[in-house]
Point group: C2
Amino acid sequence: MIDFSTDPDHYKHWRLTVDGRVATLALDVAEDGGIAPGYDLKLNSYDLGVDIELYDAVQRLRFEHPEVGAIMITSAKERVFCAGANISMLAQSTHVDKVNFCKFTNETRNGIEDASAHSGQRYLCVINGTAAGGGYELALATDHIILIDDGASAVSLPEVPLLAVLPGTGGLTRVVDKRHVRRDRADFFCTTGEGMRGKRALEWDLIDELAPRSKLDEAATARADTLAAQSDRPADAEGITLAALGRTTGDNELIYSHVTVTFDRDRRTATFQVRSPDAAPPQDAAAIHAEGCDFWPLALARELDDAILHLRFNEPELGTWVLTTSGDAEHVAAADDALLNNPDDWLVREITLYLKRTLKRLDVSSRSLIALIEPGSCFTGTLLELALAADRSYMFDGAFEGSNLPPATLRPTDMNFGPLPMCNGLTRLDARFLDDAGKRADIEAEIGNDLDAAAAEALGLVTFTPDDIDWEDEVRVALEARSSFSPDALTAMEANLRFGGPETIESKIFARLSAWQNWVFQRPNAVGDGGALELYGSGKQPNFDRKRV
Amino acid sequence: MIDFSTDPDHYKHWRLTVDGRVATLALDVAEDGGIAPGYDLKLNSYDLGVDIELYDAVQRLRFEHPEVGAIMITSAKERVFCAGANISMLAQSTHVDKVNFCKFTNETRNGIEDASAHSGQRYLCVINGTAAGGGYELALATDHIILIDDGASAVSLPEVPLLAVLPGTGGLTRVVDKRHVRRDRADFFCTTGEGMRGKRALEWDLIDELAPRSKLDEAATARADTLAAQSDRPADAEGITLAALGRTTGDNELIYSHVTVTFDRDRRTATFQVRSPDAAPPQDAAAIHAEGCDFWPLALARELDDAILHLRFNEPELGTWVLTTSGDAEHVAAADDALLNNPDDWLVREITLYLKRTLKRLDVSSRSLIALIEPGSCFTGTLLELALAADRSYMFDGAFEGSNLPPATLRPTDMNFGPLPMCNGLTRLDARFLDDAGKRADIEAEIGNDLDAAAAEALGLVTFTPDDIDWEDEVRVALEARSSFSPDALTAMEANLRFGGPETIESKIFARLSAWQNWVFQRPNAVGDGGALELYGSGKQPNFDRKRV
């Protein structure tokens, strides 16, 4: 089982230090510390375990270190920064593992950019040795790249010439779309195994700054101080502690304080039950800080995040995630108010950003998402986003026979109108109605109102509204049908239907780059018996099928 | 050998009729008329041969029928519109063939939308029977879809549920991004094998109009007349004839009047030599009409178009296309002037649009493009686009030793600043410099000037400028390296680096949808021994690997 929980005391591969406004994340990979057997993590190359620690560190810096305004990513090893994803690990991974690994590493790097853009924690990368492949891609996710000018250290994306795969962690997209490296230069760079160093790397915009060995620390510190000085984070605030998640894992369930996931292996479904707060959540910043990681929106984000990652990696055959909720709409609306009314508090901002990232993780999960909206449910505000993230939703029209639960309702809040955009930059409501601003306005007019099935359907918020007579059959047929289809075709279809409208660097990474990477990861020229990825390090030359396609 | 030249007298599958302002393209597929043996084209299903005729018809309508303002696509068969791409054909095709087929069919449908948007020829689709898969996708490429309301005829995208592949001809993208079908409805529609008919299809925006059998012709005619009345095409003008291309095909060459392609099979390169007009081209519309398909810009577009398609389908192992030019810059500049100064002439407009589409075809070709700019070359205006389309360009600095040819120059014209955008909506110069409007302005200031290697390099127009000492080695090394890399990795890399910046429906189709389709076309669940595509029609159920990825 892959477990995503860790903390700095248990890191094997990263050293996290905080010095006033500046933190340092130094990569120091333990060669024998791979998450799976069969490979050595030489030259600061990484596997999923290294990236799980990086993800944890980025999260903790946000929540536990309000005082940190700049983070320096560097290497603790001499003359080597990072050799990228470990090749032997990739070569021995299944296709599922490769794709899952790349998606998670992409999300972590997008999270770094999210911190830089929205959280007042600016990242810089100090490349003190060679940065190859994923090593350089990690640098590309930061705001500022300083490269040591030692006549030897280079940045490179050698995947195409050496391995016959793509730089799979956003490198191609970030080179042209973020750094605006001219496309012909990007072409040359990405086909040059040894990469580029010194002045040319700077001239071609592959890096931002050069420093000789003797001046590297000084340049790094100066830049970090400059970035930290731009931060709006409070230098004197206290962080909260991200305590270990209380989670119970059974053969067919996953239980957290506000989220339970139950597995139906015959129907290949995992049903999420997301519960509202038990009581009205605190409304002022001081009380929210006092609750810390028990504050419901934060607990919810952490639990959903962990559940999504757990299911992605450990339960790949549960192809449909059924999204349900329960509880008290008033409490969820109050939780949304608590977030919306304290936008200038650093912690509240972090919590909202974390909810955003968690919902984005749901959007790009390769699982069919079906929301079931039943009496007793609580699809309000932030939780309504679950129904809007779903590929399809069923809302029960009326009351269950013989039940005293009132009919299900949906309640929009201001959280549905901005703070939780998808990776394409649109809110889920805007992605739902695209250019039809009228439909969005109709729903905005209902903020705070409880919408029954007829109203929700008329507003376009739900797909179907079966009544007591049809509900069971209709839902069963939908889930059985979904479960009978090709998992691959569903993944590809959903990747296309979920993200209408504009594109961002982030959506391009998941849509275009990842799709091509997934394709290459299937091609015999990469992964066949004589493929480059398989033969790497063997001294044998791959014998490519030369047909271009 | 696949040959893309045909004409209405030789169509096996389409009936093209013109009646005043309205043309009708009726699909009447000859079951035994497949382009390859081994399958029957039942139920108006199609293969590449059917689509080659469609492409020819769309082109001829543009050039030979200025009077046509609306085109009705329908079926000549009773109660069946089109069953989409033939499944047996797909199942027996190689991966290369599938991808090439999908790309060409996509380009043809994009060309239909281009005619609707820019050419004054509006398309409508009259679905007089069931339209499944690619049949409905063809309808989606038109401006207006009328469906017969007979209680039986449906539109559908049954690929996911029935075949475990994607609708590969833009269907998913057009449903959500063009027609703005709500994403949850699109999800239901695309997983419902039998599709949708009647009022629900209309209510869900899958079609634009319903008509009972008895009123179908009337509704179609009325709509066609309305669309034709909006056209700015001249009702009384004479078309030109697209005479058969004069082409000589050798084992290692392809010779047209202005384009020669020579093959080096050892280096796996095809070298395009594109020649300027031999004399100054005519400048006024009447003289351009008189030259007809011999007018250089039109001849160039046709020859390049045919060469690109020929190489894609018949020479898949020639992985690098080397782009060279020769001739007189004045004549090319004059040809550009002729196009730019007659924008309101229907034929001139068509020629410019055709150049645009041909260059787009080059952009999305899965071949490495290397421009060599040597003394004697003629990269002016429209031909400069070839260098800008290249993944990389080498410009010879100075004169060849012992040669009296003057040093190479580049000359921008107004053609480089708008009329020939890429599929993402940007000119190649804007895609090159993205948000740097200053660099674009620097080049705009040089319109009409001959830029030598130093100037071209300073302006960012070329990648490298070797001199006589380095040229031969540098070019040889570049071509040999390119030829040594994995063809798949290059395809995927180029697809990411070529299209920085914004996305359009067209770029999404080529970037996101096609990449996922290519991936699915590699997956065992579709094409393995027990895959759905292989087993279709056998009565056997596929046994899917259930892991989601």
